[in-house]
């Protein structure tokens, strides 16, 4: 966390979020990582983010049964719920790993969702307080 703004890594599924207005990724939201399917996001990616200084991770996937690749979102949901338990063991608040499964072709909700998650992270404080 630098200053007041928490560092958030956001993965978003290309088939569910903001595909109608791809500019939203390019202009407004620089810190967003579009992926082919949320099912491609691995536990190591999320851990990498935390390891490299992120205060939180947000995964945007498709709503139930709407995955273009059939069950990618289900796999991610399972993975995230399990990973939250492991994060706790490491002393990381499980709430730092957030997900939202919905479909938003125009990507209008994305800035608000990110803002909301950042607010939550702000309340939790930085993951690694400055020494």
């Amino acid at each position: 966390m630098k200053g007041d703004s928490p560092k958030l890594i956001c993965f978003s599924c290309k088939f569910g979020w903001g595909y109608l207005d791809t500019d939203i990724y390019k202009s407004q939201l620089k810190d967003i990582i579009p992926v082919t399917c949320s099912g491609t996001i691995d536990a190591t990616h999320i851990m990498d983010a935390f390891k490299n200084g992120a205060d939180g991770v947000l995964v945007l996937g498709c709503s139930d049964k709407a995955c273009h690749f059939q069950t990618g979102n289900d796999q991610t949901r399972k993975r995230i719920l399990m990973l939250r338990k492991i994060l706790q063991e490491f002393g990381i608040d499980p709430l730092r790993l957030q997900f939202m499964f919905n479909v938003d072709p125009e990507g209008k909700q994305i800035p608000a969702v990110i803002e909301k998650t950042k607010q939550l992270l702000k309340n939790l404080g930085p993951l690694r307080p400055a020494l």
């Binding site: 290309k14 992926v35 490299n52 796999q75």
Partner: protein, 599 residues
């Protein structure tokens, strides 16, 4: 002396094998069905913005298949092979296409003509049905000066015989008018080739370098019993189905024409059901007598579509299965009834049409009108006169190139060659256009033409995943006994929902919908780092599409990806415990580091 003959047939061709979704494999013109479905599923919910998208989808379809708005009403054979059929009902692709069609037609009227320089040879297309139109369209697009010779005063051929409750007249008219206008095809109406001043040779002398003959099947098939023609087919009150439908399309037979009359329809095909349902709409009390049995799955099962049979039954049409006609009864020149023996077998062991009857089990059906709808035949006299038959009195034509064996500048296709669905004729038109193009450019007619497609399997998913098909809305039977459409089309949300149900079983290379909407820059690929892979096989169980496979290299098992089946979803990447798999163009680790390092 031993020597090889370098005939075209003896040359080795490169294998052309491709995976396709089963619907696309089934479609004779291999239309990009999956692509359309994916594009529809990505449409915006706002109707105004969606309209733009629909026009683009329509334009893409029109380019290859200008008759697609008609297919959306009458075809749907792709649905027969859909992988979803056993899991809750096929994707309603026909209705999805009709949905595109309904939004595209208004735009089609204002679509600009193709910008083509017509500097190639003159080609004549004979017959204005779906085969002829398709051929003329594709040749025209390639720059040939095409003249289409139509025997009547309207284009469309047998498409006019489809009752208007299935295909609205206005849709048919508009689509055809626009094809002719947009592709710039010249039409000669009332030009019946084979009569008067017109013959193939004369056309050739008039400068037409090649001819596509798609005259269809203008003559009805006579009713036979054994090998004898059943007598009394000339009685008052006996019609042939084709003539009956033709007269309805011309507006000769109008409402209540058959009011209060008992009508018997002979035949079990879709045309017989078109006739029966049309006769019902003209006020008749209709009974269908079919040679085939009720069980569609049996070898002798009725060929008509389930929907047709169900629709007819709902409308109060009686259907008698497994009965033939041995005698037509008449009195004072007026039709009175038929004597109908039990049919014990329709096809013989070789699968040829060879019906057998039990003459001890006969019944007599009485009626006022008999409509015989057991098929059509081409104008054999014309084909003989033009010298297009072989010594066995069959059409001498190559089934792959459609080139006549007797006259190499003549190509023959459509119903005249083999009776089929509308789209079968369209395919032959398309193939003929390719053949004629190659012929006139002096290229090999056969090279690379024979393609082998393999249908992809159903993705491996749990049964609970599948969704059942949406209901099709038909007007209730008592309200649909007219010639207006009775089937309700999809609304935008319904269409998006149904398109999303598509499992997209096919490979990405034959779809590329995501790239065309800018969702992805290019199709990603999965790479396996063989030095890291331990061969555990977890990726195999993670992949729904059977693309991740294990192969043996020396003593080790190594995972690999079948590029033809892979969809690059990345599910195997996250499943791989060793991190041996990578998706091209998506380096997540690098991106994470970049973002973490940025301010």
């Amino acid at each position: 002396m031993w020597k090889t003959v370098n005939k075209v047939e003896s040359l080795v061709e490169p294998a052309i094998v491709q995976y396709l979704p089963p619907c696309q494999k089934k479609c004779p013109i291999n239309e990009d069905i999956q692509r359309t479905n994916v594009l529809l599923s990505l449409l915006p919910e706002d109707p105004k913005e969606a309209r733009e998208g629909l026009i683009q989808i329509g334009d893409y379809l029109f380019d290859n298949n200008p008759l697609f708005p008609i297919c959306g009403y009458v075809c749907g054979i792709c649905e027969l092979e859909c992988n979803y059929t056993t899991k809750g009902g096929a994707i309603r692709r026909r209705l999805l296409k009709r949905f595109v069609s309904d939004h595209y037609l208004d735009y089609l009227d204002s679509k600009k003509e193709f910008d083509i320089v017509k500097n190639r040879e003159k080609v004549a297309v004979i017959g204005g049905g779906p085969g002829g139109l398709m051929c003329a369209f594709h040749l025209s697009k390639r720059g040939y000066k095409v003249t289409l010779f139509e025997a009547t005063n309207r284009l469309g051929g047998a498409l006019w015989l489809i009752p208007h409750y299935r295909l609205p007249k206005l849709v048919l008219q508009r689509v055809i008018e626009n094809i002719v206008r947009i592709a710039g095809i010249e039409i000669q109406y009332n030009a019946k080739i084979g009569e008067g001043k017109w013959s193939l040779e004369k056309l050739r002398k008039a400068g037409y370098k090649s001819i596509f003959l798609a005259k269809g099947t203008p003559a009805p098939r006579m009713l036979l019993f054994g090998l004898q023609i059943v007598e009394n087919q000339d009685l008052e009150g006996v019609f042939y189905g084709q003539t009956f439908l033709y007269e309805i399309s011309r507006g000769i037979l109008v409402k209540d024409y058959l009011g209060g009359k008992k009508v018997i329809v002979i035949g079990g095909g879709n045309v017989a059901f078109d006739v029966a349902r049309s006769a019902r709409r003209l006020g008749g009390d209709v009974t269908v007598v079919a040679l085939e049995c009720e069980d569609k799955k049996s070898k002798d099962g009725i060929p008509a579509d389930h929907e047709e049979i169900q629709g007819a039954w709902e409308e109060g049409i009686k259907i008698v299965y497994s009965r033939g006609v041995s005698k037509i009864l008449g009195k004072n020149g007026q039709f009175e009834g038929i004597v109908s023996p039990k049919c014990t077998r329709v096809f013989n062991e070789q699968g040829r049409f060879y019906p057998e009857f039990d003459l001890n089990d006969t019944v007599t059906f009485h009626g006022d009108i008999l409509i015989i709808t057991i098929g059509q035949i081409p104008d054999m006299d014309f084909l003989k006169k033009e010298g297009l038959l072989n010594e066995r009195h069959q059409l001498a034509v190559d089934p792959l190139t459609l080139q006549s064996a007797n006259k190499d500048w003549v190509f023959i296709g459509g119903d005249v060659r083999r009776i089929g669905y509308m789209v079968d004729a369209m395919r032959e038109g398309q193939e003929a256009a390719e053949s004629i193009d190659r012929y006139l450019r002096g290229l090999d007619l056969k090279k690379g033409r024979k393609k082998e497609y393999i249908a992809t399997d159903l993705p491996q998913l749990k049964d609970a995943f599948f969704k059942s098909e949406p209901d099709v809305t038909w007007l209730p039977p008592e309200k649909r006994l007219h010639f207006q459409m009775f089937e309700k089309g999809f609304t935008l949300p319904e269409a998006i929902e149904e398109a999303k149900r598509c499992l997209c079983c096919g490979p990405c290379t034959s779809c590329r919908a995501c790239v065309s909407v800018g969702l992805q820059e290019d199709l990603p690929k999965v790479i396996v780092h063989e030095t890291i892979c331990s061969g555990c096989g977890i990726c195999v169980s993670a992949c729904h599409y059977g693309a991740a496979q294990l192969k043996q290299i020396g003593q080790h098992l190594i995972s690999s990806t079948d590029v033809l089946k892979c969809k690059a979803c990345g599910m195997c990447l996250s499943a791989c415990p060793a991190g041996a798999r990578e998706l091209t163009g998506q380096d997540l680790k690098k991106r994470i580091l970049e973002i973490c390092a940025s301010a």
